[in-house]
């Protein structure tokens, strides 16, 4: 029995508390039920009072080594044992070990006549004997009000009940007294008047044909406690209260990063991926690849040896495994290695709060590093719209406190009614990925946009992503003249660009060929002209030489002529033409 530490001023003795071992309840009550005092547990029929009480005793024995006594007014011990057998409580063993005693008070009005004054000393003796025989520290009385229907003398009964509760206190046992809820009152017979230390109300409300069990601490004398209504679960694993409050924003923010499992996406997130403990919302229309995005994250998380829970709301685990195999992700092996746990439930199975309570317990039990809720939108229809935000807040808070990274998928992208929901949810999310499935040119193409990512400089680009047999691939943003292009439009634009380049290249080629030709042409011309010039020069030189030769001849002839003339004169011989002789 863990007495609560003195957190208040030392002069005030802090009230001792007995832990119930009921997950969540000890947090709501800040340590358990008032130790050594009776607690009133009220609620209408079928809301789980008996199982609650039995769980309290069972946990007391198994976890805290505090034997317990169960006084049953309504059920026979064998029925009781059978009923709680559904919770895997081995009551028979505890009884055999003298750790638990069950006493069925069989009392029927028809068989009893009253003649004069009486008291309930017999009950006290039985209870006292049961407590003493096993050294019980815990007692559950279920449901003592039955006596009101049996005994005529109500005033005697009331005074005896008052005495009983005082007596229980004097015995120092931590007791739970169950009572039926009355019209407009906590209990039908006003037991809250006598048991005033702690009153817990259980409720089973049906909304939209979905029932949700809730628990509320109506009063807890001498102790602070959570005042909200908390959903709780009753199933094969016992009682779980979901104590998450939205009051605290005290969770530590981790700077550690987790890869998204898609290298290209990590690149958009500063090259490192998501923050550990952050909440990621992946929203998109049907078939836009949300689950695949989630599967990548699961795969990466498990591959790093961390655990992961996949809350599947629409598909069965085997279907998810099969589908993801088609894109090259083997989730089966992680499941086999106990790193991945699937928790598949139809959203309509129970109310939103019960779903969240289930998640709470699974997370507390499996302690994963990451959690997938696929899709979150399925849950939104399981609860009243007003509750959705607060419940999600509690879930997100709870996961953050545990530093569990959560990836939620959500169907629908900001259209009409869903927009309001999106906005409600998105404010709780740290990272919001939008997946579009845009139709253009007769085809759908997938696009991804990182709408926000708190605490990091993220990419603002719209990227096209494609599902390959090797997982998701993000393609580099292709910005055409009319914005980002995807799919065949992208291909067409790429082809167009390529053609244009080709044409340009060819033009250049043509031009340079022309140029080369011209150059050759000009060179040839130059050569020709030069040849012409040379020949002209040669001619000129020839002429020049010819002229000079003639001059020389003439000069020679003149000399010869002069000489002949001189000779004839002297000898008297007739003069003969000099030079060329005439023929």
């Amino acid at each position: 029995m863990a007495g609560k530490k003195r957190t208040t001023r030392d002069k005030l003795p802090a009230i001792g508390k007995a832990r119930t071992g009921i997950s969540g309840l000890d947090e709501v009550t800040q340590g358990g039920l008032p130790q050594g005092r009776p607690t009133l547990l009220c609620g209408s029929a079928g809301c789980g009072k008996t199982l609650f009480g039995m769980t309290f005793l069972y946990n007391g024995v198994v976890q805290y080594d505090e034997p317990g006594v169960f006084i049953a007014f309504e059920e026979r011990p064998q029925d009781l044992i059978k009923n709680v057998g559904s919770l895997n409580y081995d009551i028979d063993r505890l009884i055999a070990q003298n750790k638990l005693a069950i006493d069925h008070v069989e009392i029927e009005r028809a068989k009893i006549a009253e003649a004069g004054d009486y008291d309930l000393e017999g009950l006290f003796i039985r209870l006292g004997f049961a407590i003493d025989s096993i050294g019980a520290k815990r007692v559950v009385i279920d449901t003592i009000e039955t006596l009101f229907g049996v005994l005529e003398d109500e005033s005697a009964l009331r005074s005896e009940l008052r005495r009983l509760f005082e007596w229980l206190k004097s015995k120092g046992v931590t007791a739970i007294i169950t009572a039926e809820r009355g019209e407009g009152t906590l209990t039908r017979f006003g037991l809250e008047e006598y048991v005033a230390d702690c009153v817990i109300l259980l409720d089973n409300r049906v909304h939209d044909q979905l029932s949700t069990r809730r628990l509320r601490i109506v009063k807890y004398r001498g102790s602070a406690h959570g005042t909200n209504e908390y959903p709780f679960l009753l199933d094969e694993q016992g009682v779980t209260v979901m104590p998450i409050t939205s009051s605290g924003l005290a969770h530590d923010a981790s700077t550690e990063r987790l890869t998204s499992g898609i290298p290209d996406l990590d690149e958009m997130l500063e090259g490192q991926g998501y923050y550990r403990g952050s909440s990621i919302l992946v929203s998109g229309s049907a078939g836009s690849g949300k689950s695949t995005m989630a599967a990548h994250f699961v795969d990466a998380t498990c591959a790093s040896g961390q655990r992961c829970i996949y809350f599947a709301m629409e598909e069965s685990p085997s279907q998810i495994i099969r589908n993801m195999r088609s894109i090259g992700i083997d989730l089966q092996k992680w499941q086999d290695k106990k790193l991945l746990r699937f928790s598949a439930r139809r959203p309509s199975l129970f109310g939103l709060e019960t779903h969240l309570a289930t998640m709470y317990r699974e997370v507390a039990d499996f302690e994963p590093a990451a959690v997938i809720v696929d899709p979150l939108s399925a849950l939104l229809y399981a609860g009243a719209t007003g509750d959705v935000h607060s419940m999600l807040l509690r879930l997100v808070d709870f996961l953050k406190t545990r530093c569990v990274t959560a990836l939620f998928t959500n169907v629908g992208v900001l259209t009409g009614e869903s927009a309001a929901t999106e906005v409600q949810i998105s404010s709780l999310m740290d990272t919001w990925l939008l997946l579009y499935n845009r139709e253009s040119n007769g085809e759908h193409n997938r696009q991804l946009y990182l709408l926000k990512s708190r605490g990091m400089a993220h990419s603002n680009q719209v990227r096209e992503f494609i599902l390959t047999s090797d997982g998701i691939k993000l393609r580099a943003a292709y910005l055409g003249p009319e914005g980002v292009l995807t799919g065949s439009a992208r291909l067409a634009q790429e082809a167009k660009d390529k053609a244009a380049i080709l044409v340009r290249e060819q033009e250049i080629e043509r031009r340079s060929r022309e140029l080369r030709r011209r150059r050759r042409e000009i060179a040839a011309q130059i050569e020709m002209l030069q040849a012409q010039l040379t020949s002209e020069e040669t001619e000129v030189a020839l002429l020049n030489r010819e002229g000079m030769a003639r001059e020389d001849q003439l000069a020679t002839d003149r000399v010869a002529m002069g000489a002949s003339r001189l000779t004839r004169t002297t000898i008297g011989e007739p003069a003969k033409p000099v030079g060329r002789p005439r023929k």
């Binding site: 003649a115 009486y118 000393e121 003796i125 006292g128 049961a130």
Partner: protein
């Protein structure tokens, strides 16, 4: 009243409380008056043997159980209301 068998009566009390003492006295008086020589009274003090309270399904004190004649009858209280005791024990038809 065709019943002629003896009455086997057990009175459960818890110590010497006024109610217990009164019940014992009242029972004896009634038996003497209405069942002279045909009754047998066993007084069981649960303070001395508390295990019997559970075994015999005793809640209220005092409790009178008629074991014989069959069927079993239970009367609670200090038996001060003689009329009710007689009805409860089927001693005199109303």
């Amino acid at each position: 009243m065709t019943e002629n068998h003896g009455y086997n009566l057990r009175l459960y009390v818890a110590g010497q409380t006024p109610k217990s003492i009164a019940a014992i006295a009242n029972l004896k008086k009634i038996c003497e008056q209405h069942l002279p020589g045909r009754y047998e009274i066993e007084i069981i003090d649960l303070m001395k043997d508390p295990a019997l309270a559970m075994r015999h399904q005793i809640v209220a004190i005092p409790t009178l159980i008629r074991h014989l004649p069959e069927p079993l009858k239970r009367i609670i209280g200090d038996l001060s209301d003689t009329e009710k005791v007689l009805v409860g024990l089927d001693i005199r038809p109303t």
